[in-house]
């Protein structure tokens, strides 16, 4: 009997992401993937109809994994500083432990290939929205365009991650994003996000 094999599925998924990260979307074919993941082409086709279907499912799954990791121990009722700290720490941990996901997202972000909404992200988005609304209510956060909020609250973080991963370089060749440095940046970001009349 042919049964669903979770381990095999994960292996196929991660190998596919690896191939995409290394050689772009063009580098991936169902046959090459079968060889690389050490499974038969038939196994690949049990799970995926074609390359496009594979990419869509891959992206959805990767987002699901990201959301689960980002929400670990995250309380949307927490203060802005505490909540952002959890987000930054969770995301950094995920990027360091599973860099393939991060690289895969980076590849996707710049690709016109797939432009679709992932319904599975609703729970994640809702948590983030509640967190932001709470912070506004408590006077920790000024009202601003979501794009401005993201750029300050997360753009700054991802920029530091790029330095940490040596994708970007400035003064030193060996910048490491330690907890201390991360905390310094967080304090400044939290300060910048505060309404002007607040202390």
């Amino acid at each position: 009997m042919r049964v669903r094999d979770e381990n095999k599925e994960v292996a196929i998924r991660e190998k596919a992401m690896e191939m995409i990260v290394k050689g772009g979307f063009e580098a991936l074919s169902m046959q090459k993937l079968a060889k690389a993941a050490n499974v038969s082409p038939a196994t690949i086709y049990i799970y995926y109809k074609n390359k496009e279907d594979l990419l869509h499912q891959l992206f959805n799954k990767a987002q699901e994994v990201f959301a689960a990791r980002a929400l670990q121990g995250f309380d949307p009722e927490a203060s802005l500083e505490e909540g952002l700290w959890t987000q930054w720490k969770n995301r950094l941990k995920f990027i360091t432990e599973s860099p393939i996901y991060y690289q895969f997202f980076e590849q996707f972000r710049n690709s016109p290939l797939i432009n679709h909404k992932n319904v599975n992200m609703a729970y994640f988005r809702e948590n983030m929205m509640i967190f932001v609304r709470n912070a506004i209510k408590r006077g920790e956060l000024s009202k601003m365009d979501p794009e401005i909020f993201w750029s300050l609250a997360y753009g700054s973080f991802y920029s530091l991650v790029k330095f940490h991963l040596q994708e970007k370089k400035m003064m030193t060749e060996t910048f490491k994003l330690t907890d201390v440095k991360l905390k310094i940046a967080l304090k400044m970001v939290v300060k910048a996000l505060k309404p002007e009349n607040a202390n």
Binding site: M30, A42, N50
Partner: protein, 77 residues
């Protein structure tokens, strides 16, 4: 967690079906088979993989139908 979901209802075949007319011909046959829940063909792959989801149709029945159209068709290893 042990997943024991049976996947025997997903059938995959290697064919020589190409784009255009071949696909149209196949479509007529496939849509006439009521026991088929879903089907697709990947003409970009060298194996031109036909994928069929059906809880009631066996592989041989599909192979016979596709071969009757004049195409090669065998279960994909």
């Amino acid at each position: 967690m042990v997943m024991t979901e049976n996947l025997a209802h997903i059938l995959v075949f290697k064919t020589n079906i190409n784009n255009g007319n071949d696909k149209l011909l196949l479509e007529q046959t496939m849509s006439a088979l009521v026991a088929i829940e879903e089907w697709s063909i990947d003409v970009e792959d060298v194996d031109r993989v036909l994928r069929v989801v059906s809880h009631e149709t066996g592989p041989q029945e599909i192979i016979n139908k596709v071969r009757a159209l004049g195409f090669d068709c065998q279960e994909l290893e």
